[in-house]
């Protein structure tokens, strides 16, 4: 508890301190809820930026021989689309949810290190602005979101045998990623300590809400995965500016080293992007099915299993580079294995809904949409684990389809499920239900129009990242269809922002517990006070707020956990 000395001079106007002004309050805040909101606002701002880039890509590819973008600008746009969506939208938004919700869920009054928390947010914001400022210099990163060597190199042999990027483009990527890594480490440490040390009395590990579980696993993944990306980025900067040759084959370096270092971060990263969404779905489904979650222990520990296994699968991104057969066999097997804990989750979610009194409110619609879309993306992933098949579709639109089903159909649907679910707690207002339903159906149709046909396009051999294509390859109709779907997604997102605006202005008051929910974050006002809980709650089961509302049939009377 902080003690502040405030000088009061009755009758004389006291000059307000910086943190008492509106801007200063946000600039200097260390309150986890305000920081969470800032993360989410920043994430949605970059979602708009990344979405505009996606629409530019789809406009360019709508018809053969498109002339909307030049080849060079197209490279920058698709690279920044990936970087923005992954590092500046999904990660900050999920961190924002974690910041706002996790301390409330575990009955804590703030994060363990509030100022470190604020620091992590400001680094993300500045890194995002830094990365996007590259457009002003006409030098946005252009080597793809995974920025392969030697494309990212700057060497004396540039322009001869070596493909490279002589401008500042890759420097923006490398420095931006380093900054974002600093932020992620700060945030992850904070989550781990908060979750392990600041839970309310009685909230044992086995009683933690599943969103908290998945946030903890994600935080550990970040802590262990980021060092390889940081190391790769530093080595690359040394190559580019101090004349080392870590990734230059002609000087004894190894471009594949980049791929190994990147993907040993990059594949855990996929789970960093999806596990918190798993957690959100695991909170939404039971509340809107009026049942406890089915298979809590399996859902929690399958998340841990996914976390461990995610470090053993990275080279499935590299089957086509010529790995030895034993390595291919190993990574194909481990990739297939990871489907098991993932399927465990899906079966448990379905069992949660099965037999429940299902209420198809917008959070539930997005949660169900998540399961269906993620399932398609997951099955694509299992197909890509088959090495000969992977050879055929490597770097085609099949892979683009797979990753978008996982990250858009999965993570983004999860984010919207979580947002519609927790927005009443964050703002005190309900989002408009009808506009939410319009958004959901537009998104569901849009996702499938855009991304399903990419499977076929990939099988027809359309490589990813080409900026245009001739009109006689049989790709025209599918590309046009995808562009129509992408614009439909754009309209859906506009509906969302319209809903957000009118609901914040004149939305229906939510009350403290609009969904008759089970977990502690609902056991306080909406929005919560600065100190979260007047009295720190005591927990006796996995549904502490349900117990409080239903003392006669409380879970702790019958449950053994």
């Amino acid at each position: 508890m902080a003690t502040r000395t405030i000088v009061e001079a009755p009758g004389v106007a006291r000059r307000r301190r910086l943190d008492e002004t509106y801007i200063g309050e946000w600039l200097m805040t260390t309150d986890h809820k305000k920081i969470g909101v800032m993360y989410m606002l920043t994430g949605f701002f970059f979602f708009l930026a990344g979405g505009l880039e996606a629409l530019l890509i789809r406009t360019q590819l709508a018809v053969p021989n498109g002339k909307v973008l030049s080849a060079e600008i197209y490279n920058q746009i698709f690279t920044m689309h990936g970087v923005t969506m992954i590092f500046l939208f999904v990660m900050p938004t999920l961190t924002g949810f974690g910041n706002f919700i996790v301390p409330l869920m575990i009955g804590a009054r703030d994060m363990a290190f509030p100022r470190l928390n604020a620091f992590g947010y400001w680094v993300v914001l500045f890194a995002g602005l830094f990365l996007n400022s590259s457009f002003i210099f006409g030098a946005a990163p252009n080597g793809g979101w995974f920025n392969y060597a030697p494309l990212n190199e700057l060497t004396t042999a540039c322009g001869n045998a070596v493909m490279c990027t002589p401008g500042m483009n890759e420097d923006f990527w490398l420095l931006g990623i380093l900054l974002l890594g600093i932020s992620s480490i700060a945030g992850s440490l904070n989550f781990v300590v908060t979750i392990l040390k600041m839970r309310a009395p009685g909230m044992t590990i086995n009683r933690m809400p599943l969103f908290t579980w998945m946030t903890m696993v994600t935080a550990f993944l970040l802590l262990f995965a980021l060092p390889s990306l940081t190391a790769a980025s530093v080595l690359e900067l040394l190559d580019r500016h101090l004349g080392t040759h870590f990734f230059q084959a002609q000087f004894g370096g190894d471009p594949l080293l980049w791929q190994h270092l990147f993907w040993s971060f990059g594949h855990p990263e996929v789970y960093i992007l999806i596990l918190p969404a798993f957690g959100m779905i695991s909170e939404v489904l039971p509340v809107f099915s009026r049942k406890p979650i089915f298979g809590y222990t399996f859902i929690a520990w399958s998340g841990v299993a996914i976390g461990f296994l995610s470090f053993t699968v990275w080279a499935h991104h590299m089957f086509a580079v010529g790995l030895p057969p034993i390595a291919q066999a190993f990574f194909a097997t481990s990739t297939t294995l990871i489907a098991i804990p993932t399927a465990v989750k899906i079966f448990n979610w379905i069992a949660t809904v099965y037999g429940g009194k299902v209420s198809l409110k917008v959070p539930m619609l997005f949660a169900l949409g998540f399961i269906a879309m993620f399932l398609i993306g997951g099955l694509d992933g299992a197909a890509l684990a088959v090495v000969p098949f992977d050879y055929q579709v490597t770097d085609t639109y099949f892979v683009v389809s797979h990753l978008h089903y996982v990250l858009f159909g999965g993570t983004v649907f999860g984010i919207f499920a979580g947002f519609f679910y927790w927005f009443p707690k964050i703002s005190g207002k309900l989002l408009d239900e009808r506009l939410g339903q319009v958004q959901f159906w537009l998104m569901l149709i849009g996702v499938n129009l855009t991304f399903f046909s990419m499977h076929i396009l990939g099988l027809l051999g359309m490589p990813r990242r080409i900026y245009t294509y001739p009109g006689d390859l049989g790709w025209n109709e599918l590309n046009l269809l995808q562009t129509v779907g992408a614009y439909m997604l754009g309209i859906a997102i506009m509906v969302f922002f319209w809903n957000l605006t009118i609901s914040l202005r004149s939305g229906e008051p939510a009350g403290n517990d609009p969904w008759d929910a089970y977990t502690l974050e609902w056991d306080t006002t909406s929005p919560p006070p600065h100190y979260n809980f007047p009295v720190v709650p005591t927990v006796r089961s996995r549904r502490p707020y349900y117990d409080k509302k239903n003392p006669d049939i409380a879970d702790w009377k019958t449950a053994t956990h």
């Binding site: 508890m1 600039l27 200097m28 309150d31 009054r109 604020a118 620091f119 400001w122 600065h530 100190y531």
Partner: protein, 74 residues
């Protein structure tokens, strides 16, 4: 929790001396050092692609921010 005696109520308001009050705020105290340190780090890294002097400025600012953060009254 006043630290001083109440001033005389007969004095006109503008002449009454200031009163220091300690307020218990449940929750962490706000701080501008996290913002300052983040900004300093970005400046230092911008220096990598612009000018060594900019790196120096960023590092100095970062050290100042770390010291300020460490010495800040909590």
């Amino acid at each position: 929790m006043s630290e001083e005696q109440n001033p005389s109520p007969q004095l006109p308001p503008k002449e009454r001396p200031a009163k220091a009050v300690q307020v218990q705020v449940p929750g962490p105290q706000s701080s501008y050092w996290p913002f300052a340190l983040a900004l300093a780090l970005v400046i230092a890294l911008i220096g990598v692609i612009t000018n060594l002097i900019v790196i120096g400025v960023g590092v100095v600012l970062a050290i100042a921010a770390i010291i300020g953060w460490g010495l800040e009254k909590r």
